[in-house]
Amino acid sequence: MAEPSDSFKQFDYAIRPSKQVERKIMIEVLLGLPRGGYDLRQYRYLGFGSPFYVDFVMFHKYLFIREMVCVEWADVERRMRFNKPFKFIKLRLCPLSAYIPTMRRTKRHLVWLDYDRSLDPDILEDIDGCLNRVAAKSVLVITVDARPKPPDTGVEAQGTTAENRELLTAEAYRSWFGRYIDKTITREAIARVHVAPLFYDVVIERIRQTLTTRGGGLRFLQIFNFFYRDGAPMWTVGGVVGTAEDEGVLRDAGVFNHPFVRTGKDYLTISVPPLTVREKHWLDSRLDPNLTAAKLAFELDEKLLENYRKFYKQYPTYMETLL
């Protein structure tokens, strides 16, 4: 079993700009679901905690979800309780695998399995468990570190060379993921900065298999496929667990027309330039299709300008506040 995550010790979750853009995009897209008759206010949000509870606050404020369960396994019980922003959030201090059996099959969920580690068999089991427990029309989102990682073999692996690590990783991935993809996982295939496309194939196939076994005509109606990096490269996939009929309803409601919706393997790269508040305001007041890097009052290359143009609505602004 994977060890509990403690990445919150390294980051304030609220100020990872790409992550924050991702959250806002998710909310924007999910706000389209009510047009298809999905009453998100009645959903239960299931997410992993950190003492910052950013997702919980945002999903409550913007999606109006009131039933929330935070599963957290790190050894910070008092801190988690102390920082709980709303009384209605139920804190479950256990691994997700222990919580899944208690989930009610009749309840629609918004589940965000937001891991800070790379894809592994334990994560696939979590996905499988959630898919077997959530009611139809639930939303499942999965985020993982997109870097290829060798299995945790303890102290002896630390001194190994990059080549050995790649060989170890390829061997582990063949054993873990080989059954989900139609080609052999070679060392070359994983000798890269990130392996989001490989993870995509594995996760999507596993979801397909699980839902086929579950029956009821359920399928994964994908809406999210994001890639971003605030430090480590991260990959997110998400969608609605629904039938062909549900797919039609969502299509008619225009959910798939949102520019950030991704229904296939090509991911949306979320990348935002670091800007000062003055730069942001300057750009916002002049942003139109004709604005080019050459016309800016400060240095910013064309690519970063394009990224800003794409995500200016979701761009987070941070200021120090003296409380």
């Binding site: 691994p95 222990a98 059996p101 089991e125 077997n132 596993r206």
Partner: protein, 437 residues
């Protein structure tokens, strides 16, 4: 226009007599005869062993005996399980394969092949004598003669008549045994193998009162117990799907139980998988772990019950499961979803850093054996393992090995006669005082 030709598709007696008998062992064939006896018990007297599982001691006890006896020249299976009526014998019992299933009863009879396959596997002369409370019949089969009559697909009655009796009984005798069968009946080990198989396959029936004898010795129920305590509790979950009750229980076998466990699968009370550690119960499939020595104490039960026997994932040999069965697929998903916390606990129990798992070991050692019936008869519960985490002030043991020569050298320098552990403590403290304070 001429009539299109037809392709022949009639059955062959040789197939039943010589071929499908290869699919299972002699002991499994005898279990097929026991299955038949138990099936009669269920259909005649409404015995439902599930009641013993779910209702505990309140359920009606089974009062019946199945007596198996064999010599190098003869096998007999006698039971007082209600007997076979003349009508049943004429229309149903001797058919080679069930044409239509009666969906109104629970039981063990599924495919309508086991008893006949057992006859053919064991010998050439078969005699079936049975009586209910008001009639009796006898059928004698000479297999070699029957095989010659290729178009005769029936067995003539030796007699069939009215007769008053207080109970129903059936006796099957097989003689003119095949040479390989005689050889096995001579072997002393065979009786023990058979007793062992019966003790597990019919464990729930034996627990409920059924008496099965093998050449004079009673079979004793062999069903492993789960370990429980106030802080350690097995998962118990009952779900219903498509007319099938699916009961799943999983936890740890007691520390004193040294037999590697795994999954035990039952269909209508009959065990069809015993301590399974293979892909049949999901080990090593998808992203699930392979069975490993650290999971030796994993103990899971899958109990399936249905009045429609066709819905259960039996195989014709009752020694496995039909993995494609939708009910089994559902059960498999639930089994693994519910038992993941158990496996996680075992991973912690046998973690690489032994000192860290002492609280888990203590919890495990203190748990007491509990019969699965007691867990089955309670409400649904999740797996619970409340581990008392060590505080930073708790003491931990450190063990390591170093060459004796080096230890003696330190002993010399310290100038005092010290034990190995005392030197270990001294050197630890020496490092800590200089680097950690």
């Amino acid at each position: 226009m001429s009539t299109p030709p037809v392709a022949k598709a009639h059955p062959s007696k040789a197939f039943f007599i010589h071929m499908i008998t290869r699919d299972l062992s002699l002991s499994d064939c005898i279990l097929d005869l026991v299955d038949n006896s138990i099936h009669r018990l269920i259909t005649k007297s409404g015995v439902d062993v599930s009641e013993h599982l779910f209702g505990g001691t309140k359920a009606r006890r089974i009062d019946a005996v199945i007596d198996i006896a064999f010599t190098p020249s003869k096998l007999s299976v006698t039971d007082d399980c209600g007997g076979i009526s003349i009508e049943e014998a004429k229309e149903q019992v001797f058919l080679l394969g069930n044409p239509v299933q009666d969906k109104s009863q629970t039981g063990l009879g599924v495919y309508g092949i086991g008893m006949k396959r057992a006859f053919f596997k064991i010998g050439n002369q078969i005699s079936i004598v049975s009586h209910t409370t008001d009639e009796e019949f006898k059928i004698d089969i000479d297999v070699k003669e029957w095989e010659k009559e290729t178009d005769e697909w029936h067995f003539p009655f030796t007699y069939a008549r009215q007769k008053e009796s207080t109970t129903g009984r059936t006796q099957i005798q097989v003689s003119e045994l095949h040479a390989a069968v005689s050889d096995q009946f001579v072997s002393k080990a065979f009786k023990n193998i058979l007793l062992e198989k019966i003790s597990t396959a019919y464990a729930l029936f034996l627990k409920a009162g059924l008496n099965i004898k093998v050449s004079g010795d009673d079979a004793n129920a062999d069903i492993p117990e789960l370990a429980e305590s106030k802080h350690l509790r097995a998962v118990r979950q009952m779900i219903k799907k498509d007319g099938v009750d699916i009961l799943i229980m999983a936890g740890l076998s007691p520390a004193a139980d040294k037999k590697p466990r795994g999954w035990y699968v039952f269909c209508n009370g009959r065990m069809v998988l015993d301590a399974d550690k293979t892909e049949r119960t999901g080990w090593g499939t998808d992203s699930r772990p392979m069975f490993h020595a650290k999971f030796n104490h994993f103990l899971g039960y899958l109990y399936l019950r249905s009045n429609d026997v066709q819905k259960l994932p039996w195989t014709t040999t009752k020694e496995g499961v039909d993995r494609e069965s939708p009910i089994y697929q559902t059960a498999l998903t639930e089994m693994w979803l519910l038992s993941r916390p158990v496996l996680n606990f075992l991973n912690e129990l046998y973690s690489d850093v032994k000192e860290q798992s002492e609280p888990e070991h203590s919890l495990f050692r203190e748990a007491k054996p509990v019969p699965p019936q007691r867990i089955a008869s309670r409400e649904n519960t999740a797996f619970k393992a409340t581990v008392k985490r060590q505080s930073d002030d708790d003491l931990v043991s450190i063990q390591y090995r170093r060459p004796k020569k080096q230890l003696n050298r330190i002993r010399e320098l310290l100038g005092r006669r010290r034990s190995g552990s005392s030197i270990g403590e001294y050197t630890f403290d020496w490092y800590y005082d200089r680097n950690c304070k």
